[in-house]
Symmetry: C3
Subunit: 208 residues, 3 copies
């Protein structure tokens, strides 16, 4: 698989999986069809849009309508399935973790190809990975996952972005490094969901 094909098809998969989480999350908020669809579209396209604006690239879904169709199609199917079969509310956390992994690594890779400095590229990966979910959580009036303690959300993404850069420095091919780094993000995020891994934080006693 070439790097271009990987970016295209993994990008399409990430869009679909994020549209799914957006619509699933709206199902808990009694939105109607168009509201749920708009949340799905924002979740699917938000992160890559901010990345492209910051890099001064053409916004990916404006120049290639296929991404918007993928987001709307997945959103519609999810809407009618979720309406018919009630689903456990935390189910969307698994596809959300997959979307985080895919978008982070694609975002970092695209920024490196665009000749962004490496630290900037890693932050672009984090932005591509987390912004869609932040939009979803704000629109559905949840506390964004990225700000919950013990979830390693942005942390998993950032470590994965650094891993991608490191693997390529070590001479691993870009395609192989991408798959490995997606595995890093997904593994860290799933471990954190299971075991609540915490980072250094401001001490409890100082809250007010």
């Amino acid at each position: 698989m070439s790097m271009d094909a990987l970016l295209y098809w993994v990008g399409m998969a990430a869009v679909a999986v994020n549209a799914l989480t957006g619509v699933l999350d709206s199902s808990r908020k009694q939105m109607d069809l168009i509201g749920a669809l708009l949340v799905g579209i924002a979740t699917a396209l938000g992160g890559g849009t901010i990345r492209d604006l910051l890099l001064d690239r053409n916004v990916f879904w404006v120049v290639d309508q296929a991404y918007l169709i993928a987001a709307m199609g997945t959103g519609l199917i999810t809407f009618f399935i979720a309406r018919t079969f009630p689903l456990p509310p935390r189910l969307f956390l698994i596809p959300d973790a997959v979307g985080l992994a895919l978008f982070t690594i694609i975002g970092t890779q695209i920024s490196l190809q665009w000749h962004a400095p490496w630290l900037v590229a890693s932050l672009m990966g984090v932005i591509t990975g987390v912004v869609g979910g932040v939009l979803r959580d704000i629109l559905c009036n949840d506390v964004p996952l990225v700000f919950l303690k013990g979830e390693l959300y942005a942390t998993a993404a950032w470590i994965g972005a650094f891993a991608l850069i490191g693997f390529q420095q070590l001479g691993i091919s870009a395609v192989m490094a991408s798959w490995l780094a997606m595995g890093v993000v997904l593994t860290l995020r799933l471990l954190a969901m299971r075991f609540q891994i915490t980072l250094p934080a401001f001490s409890q006693s100082r809250s007010h």
Copy 2:
């Protein structure tokens, strides 16, 4: 009236009408002059700004100061009128519906002229139409109208954008199609405000 003149003057009218709704809404939140003016400016210029950034066009009010002056002038006049004559709180919903209709159709038309794919152009119309009001509602700490059930807010905009594209496919001139499609958005929105038209939604029993 040429298409360019229509886009310019209807755009100016849409800016003024949205500035008015922004300042009227702030009047319920005890903002001071500059706070109300900033909310008015954000409501007036927000939707078109996002559209221009996504299309990689020059941002309309940055290159032509007249739009900013129209927003500030309307905002100032509205501030001093609303301060003197208390107005019924839901009054701003009528100019808001007008702003939604004008901005949606202008936004779609500009995106089509920019050679955006048609589905993208329709979404750009919705974005141009709703973002200003969403910013206003967030800044004034209201639930955004676009997410209220039974209001057909984004739905009216999206149907109007599709109508615009359909009318032009049928051979109707772009200027005539624009006026007709603005009528479609406004009529749907006013009907929904009057009769609470609902779309398919997630069932009530699943809320938690």
Copy 3:
């Protein structure tokens, strides 16, 4: 000091001071290291990012990694100091006022150099000055300072931007005018913090 050097070094100082306020504010919200760092980065880079996107300039920290390093470095140091030595919660208001003054004047000056119309340039200054703090307050779930009454937040910034333009019209050199205008913003903001200066506002009796 040349204008270019002033814009570069004062810009770097503004980034550092805003990163500091972002991390200090997160310390009251029990965020972990990465959460606090991301809030610091958003506070430091948010205003200039929006300015650059609106002006269609290259985003300043994407093309020069030094800004991102300054934000992260200051954020990290602040995190470990604030963790060890509890600080009074309102302490961040002083560096916040400094950041407001520096960013507003830099933002206006850069927009003038970019040949934005003068009223647009003044609004760009306000945006550059306030957006970082608004992002911080939203991410930390505070009411944005810019919307608090009697704080002259955006007002101080806007008056300073007009002062900058006026001083230069009077023939004062751009560098000297910049320092003077920063003084105007800082003085107004500190006076308002001390004395609660109020502007015309909607009357109390109309609240509901």
